[in-house]
């Protein structure tokens, strides 16, 4: 009886996700494989083709490095900021949180566009560089990996700050008081108490930022263009410009595999590294 009631209530969402997400995505993954008799590699021939192409390998590698840098920089900046925010007096803390939520709620297109304006030939960054005499002429900053990284860090730092403020607030204050009463300075307390306890939260933040930047489209499209293609922009180009659907399916399947592997490995790691777990 309970079983039936539970299934009846859960069935619309279950059916919707199964038929409109699981099956279509499974079809895409299926499409990414070739036919058994084809080429030297049989059904994995399309993947062999993907990795045989220097251009495609570059796209994948660039996506990994950009997402990696974005994750590392966002973690460092986010942790330092969250550390200060979590220790502010309450009124200031809530103001700082509101100021971090605001950019988070603003669309990715708008936030990427801001950097398109800032980093352009006539943009503010170039104006400042020339006014201070650091460079003679305008520097070409758009359509470089650096531009994509800066804009993505900009997009993901608020998320990281909010995740980590929550994590740092959950660390019992008694532990820090105990460590300082036992003679540890703030730096020692940070590295011996706060950081180890924050590791599971840091991993959650890192996974969120890595997966989101690995699969993003708008930012690499606007700031990387066709010169600095990443997996997201390459998938769009294969599917909607070249109409190479099997090729697009391979890109989609690789993205999916990277994301699922990252999430599985990192959640397992988070569980193992959690000092509070028994």
């Amino acid at each position: 009886m309970k079983r039936l009631a539970g299934w009846m209530l859960a069935s619309p969402a279950t059916l919707a996700i199964t038929f409109l997400l699981v099956i279509p995505v499974a079809i895409t993954v299926g499409l990414s494989f070739g036919s058994p008799g084809q080429g030297d590699w049989g059904i994995v021939q399309p993947y062999a083709d993907f990795f045989a192409s220097g251009f495609r390998r570059n796209v994948l590698w660039r996506t990994f490095t950009v997402a990696g840098w974005v994750t590392v920089i966002s973690l460092a900046a986010g942790l330092a900021t969250a550390y200060v925010v979590a220790r502010c007096p309450p009124w200031m803390k809530s103001t700082l949180i509101v100021l971090a939520v605001f950019p988070l709620l603003t669309g990715v297109v708008v936030r990427s566009f801001a950097w398109l304006v800032l980093l352009g030939r006539e943009g503010m960054v170039n104006q400042i560089l020339q006014a201070t005499g650091l460079t003679d002429g305008p520097v070409a900053m758009l359509y470089t990996p650096g531009a994509v990284i800066v804009a993505m860090v900009y997009i993901f730092v608020p998320l990281m700050v909010l995740v980590l403020v929550g994590v740092l607030e959950n660390i019992p204050e008694d532990l820090l008081q105990a460590s300082s009463s036992l003679g540890a300075g703030p730096v020692a307390s940070f590295f011996q108490i706060t950081l180890p306890l924050a590791v599971p939260g840091l991993i959650v933040g890192a996974v969120l930022v890595f997966t989101a930047s690995f699969t993003s489209y708008a930012t690499p499209h606007l700031l990387g263009g066709t010169r600095q293609m990443m997996m997201g922009t390459f998938l769009q180009q294969r599917a909607l410009v070249a109409f190479d659907w099997p090729g697009a399916a391979v890109v989609a399947a690789i993205m999916l595999a990277v994301i699922v592997a990252t999430v599985l490995v990192m959640t397992r790691l988070a569980r193992r590294l959690n000092p509070m777990a028994t």
């Binding site: 539970g6 950019p103 936030r111 708008a218």
Partner: protein, 262 residues
């Protein structure tokens, strides 16, 4: 907490916040410029780029579509997501554990992969009209948010209140609407707002599901940027930011912003 924070750390935090908010202020300034190209600081002062949003029919049309997708998609997601969240909490032991994993799949699977797969299966193979395919995409996208936020609020709901009402003779469906729903109201509102914002800002799913005559505002913004680099984009961005501020004020008044921070 009264531990002293190193001044350098405070300075760094200040820099991070300037980095976070500076670019948005620059967009605001650029939208008021009287020039035909984007520039900051603005030269002259004019609201004509705001007028321009209304004059370009593509913007008018896509704003309407975006609002339709956000309201309808979120509405449908609430109608199918709330019962699912309820079932997950009320009948947890009777339902398989993989069900909650299934419900987070729309967040786990990259949005761009979902968009591409829907284009292939729903638009091309099943022949579903573009507008409906787009609605399907937006609904799927927000279901996990609805289920997660509503579940969180059901987790602190005391189901014995519901049992008391039922044992006093109230029919289950009526009990849900008169007892359960009012108690999880703040969760439902939070789920609505979070979903609405996710839907209105979405690029990666919509990218593949827009077609001739049917597009959303973010996709139209990208298309406009390919051709023009005038302050219209900045003024649209400002309108979107003002909308965001409005939403934040409403949230603050009704629920407190702590809900969004989670």
């Amino acid at each position: 907490m009264t531990t002293r924070i190193h001044p350098l750390l405070i300075l760094f935090t200040l820099v991070v916040y300037v980095f976070l908010l500076g670019p948005l202020i620059i967009i605001f300034g650029a939208s008021l410029s009287d020039t035909t190209y984007l520039t900051f600081p603005p030269q002259g002062l004019s609201f004509r780029w705001f007028q321009n949003i209304w004059d370009i029919s593509a913007f008018r049309r896509t704003i309407v579509t975006s609002l339709q997708m956000a309201f309808l998609g979120t509405g449908i997601a609430l109608v199918i997501g709330i019962p699912a969240a309820y079932a997950l909490n009320r009948y947890r032991v009777a339902l398989p554990a993989w069900l909650s994993t299934l419900f987070v799949l729309p967040i786990l699977v990259p949005e761009i992969v979902i968009g591409f797969s829907l284009l292939r299966s729903v638009t091309v193979q099943a022949g579903v009209p573009v507008w409906y395919a787009l609605l399907i995409g937006h609904t799927l996208l927000v279901i996990p948010y609805v289920i997660r936020v509503v579940s969180a609020s059901l987790a602190s709901f005391d189901f014995s209140i519901e049992e008391a009402a039922i044992s006093l003779g109230s029919p289950p469906a009526k009990t849900f609407f008169t007892i359960v729903l009012p108690n999880i109201r703040s969760g439902v509102i939070a789920a609505f707002i979070l979903s609405f914002i996710t839907s209105i800002n979405d690029v990666s799913v919509s990218l593949f599901l827009t077609g001739p005559g049917v597009s959303t505002l973010p996709i139209q913004l990208l298309a406009h940027m390919e051709q023009f680099f005038d302050p219209t984009i900045a003024s649209v961005s400002v309108v979107l930011m003002l909308l965001t501020i409005l939403v934040m004020i409403i949230v603050e008044r009704t629920l407190g912003l702590a809900i969004v921070a989670k």
